[in-house]
Assembly symmetry: C2
Homo-oligomer: 341 residues x 2
DNA sequence: GCTACGATTTACAACGTTAGAAAGATTTCC
DNA sequence: GGAAATCTTTCTAACGTTGTAAATCGTAGC
């Protein structure tokens, strides 16, 4: 079936025999060992090309104790934010010659714990882990015997590397932007009452900080609860503010899906965006740029998060023993039509 | 750092020594070889538990020539359809004890070709490949020396397994549903003029088939071109039909994003959905269920496609030499508010 | 008690690669 | 010209697992 004769693959031994050198010399050529006579290198290279030799990675992995694969554990690819994060991580990994194995935790606590001790960890050199359900109490479970980089905010102060977006400052900037546009009655939608450390709480904190910095009183009536951060929730939140009769001239959706849903509901009520109500989101998912009007949002530095996570992880895999790092990605405000003056 | 003493992992040798049996017996226990005395099995199991032994997968891979990893090559995870497909494939693989390595081709022809011969193929037992740019001319490139299952419609008649959705019949059913609801002037948006074999062409074909079956004349003015299947394109298509003055009482978006964009534009024009214009999509992405009104669509059997692809691939990996299969997944019509009577 | 025949267990040799050190070439320097 | 230094190449063992075949055990049949 494959071009080159026998069923089994071509090995270094075959190449060595064809080139008239030892196996180790072939290995040296393949691995760019510096001290090789040009003539030898060429001889070997020719044999490799002629025989169509491909390295057997399992053998190399066994010998070196490395696989070149990193794990990425996240809630679900169906959620646009995580799909885009995975996209970025895969690209960043590819640039560095690594490959990514994705595991979904379905936002289930037990599943998140399982991933940490799964047999799959044998197959990966390290793990990038984006938990949604684990909290400070689970810190011990994260003390694993392999390199791990944790994404997101839920677990602080542990003994591991942490790469996160700047939820507080990002939210502050989003709010400040609305204030700069003359808005004073800013509804924030998608809040989670019970939570102290999740993205919702941190973003609401940023919102409050911005209000305070501008001497605008905080009105609890403008903080709208909303569980799942879906479009439908966003629409529902807006329906509720409107029904409540509370006045507002702007909406801060704690993520883009909420903001998009909000715009939809505003539209349904013939409320002009951004004329009457300005809207801003958070995450910069692709749809935000295609909505109408296009949505102003905070870009959380997804690419940077992905690249940094991979770099930190690679350093740990290579044996780096520096103190654990906490990296906070740079965010940026993407101004679009939904907050045009 | 890890609980069990020395840096290096526990091996079968350690377990064998602790249990007082040979390495092979440990291997037999681990692999559920039937002829093992219960007492022995228990002894070994206890040693395994005590030492916290985990199989070294690289070693097994080397010995068996299998990795337990399958590759999944798709355009981009940022596209919701592919993110959801990847989700389904990963779940299906997990159910069967496999693990998935995702590679993105960025919808780039060269990149799609590269994936087929990448060094990564050494790491996977087989490949599930969803090409977007390769066409019938590239058939030779798909004759690879490892198990491969091709998704999608672009390449027919080759010597490989093929799992695909039923674009023609699905589109026919979507159109028929609109006809059943009394619609006669159905605009179809997102068509690709040049294409003969892509999803766009096949779905338009299904649309025409349904019209013909019901004796409704085909009006080319109702077929609206649209390149990228994004929400913005859908909105734009609707703007164009409206501007053209052509009458219509329904819109068939060739995918959900187009349909959602269409609903948005209709809304902007104060056109009632489904009262004045009914809308139907294709793909059943998650947003379709959260839109307002919720979107009627064709569910292309994503789960089934994923499961079937994995099953076929596993059979090939196991050495199945049956003739190549072509599986067409069952679709279903999901009726929602956008086509309510 | 002895033989035969499964049931269990073991010894040994791979799987294809690379680390480490030794061996062989070649060059450099007096 | 010879010794030392350096560059190249080779040799020998692993890495941890499983397939094969052979060894050992246990017991049923006579």
């Amino acid at each position: 079936m494959n071009g080159s004769g026998t069923r089994g693959a071509v090995t270094m031994h075959d190449v060595a025999a064809a080139a008239g050198v030892s196996v180790k010399t072939v290995s040296n050529v393949v691995n760019d060992y510096p001290h090789i006579r040009p003539a030898t290198r060429e001889k070997v290279q020719r044999a490799i090309d002629e025989l169509g030799y491909r390295m057997n990675l399992s053998a190399r992995n066994l010998r070196q104790g490395r696989t070149g694969i990193i794990g990425l554990a996240l809630p679900e690819l169906s959620l646009p934010y995580f799909a885009e994060l995975a996209d970025s991580v895969i690209r960043a990994a590819e640039d560095r010659g690594l490959v990514v194995l994705i595991e979904q935790t379905s936002a289930d606590r037990q599943h998140e714990l399982d991933v940490l001790t799964s047999e799959r960890r044998q197959l990966t050199d390290g793990l990038i882990f984006s938990p949604l359900e684990l909290g400070p109490d689970d810190a011990d479970a994260l003390k694993v015997p392999y390199p791990i980089v944790v994404l997101g905010e839920r677990i602080f102060g542990g003994d591991w590397d942490h790469v996160t977006m700047n939820n507080v400052d990002g939210a502050r900037a989003a709010t400040q932007h609305l204030i700069d546009r003359g808005r004073r009655r800013i509804a924030v939608i998608g809040a989670h009452a019970g939570e102290a450390m999740g993205s919702a709480a941190l973003r609401v904190l940023g919102y409050q900080t911005a209000l305070a910095a501008n001497g605008i009183p905080f009105d609890p009536d403008l903080v709208i609860e909303g569980g799942l951060w879906h479009r439908a929730t966003g629409a529902d939140c807006v329906e509720r503010v409107i029904a409540s009769g509370v006045e507002f001239d702007a909406v801060f959706g704690l993520n883009d899906a909420l903001a998009l849903g909000a715009m939809h509901a505003l539209h349904a009520h013939r409320i002009d965006v951004p004329g009457t109500v300005a809207v801003v989101g958070f995450d910069d998912i692709e749809d935000a740029a295609y909505a109408s009007p296009t949505l102003t949002t905070i870009s959380p530095g997804r690419e940077q998060i992905a690249a940094t996570a991979i770099d930190v992880l690679m350093a740990r895999i290579a044996g780096d023993t520096e103190p654990f790092r906490r990296v906070i990605a740079d965010f940026s405000l993407i101004e679009r039509e939904s907050t045009a003056p």
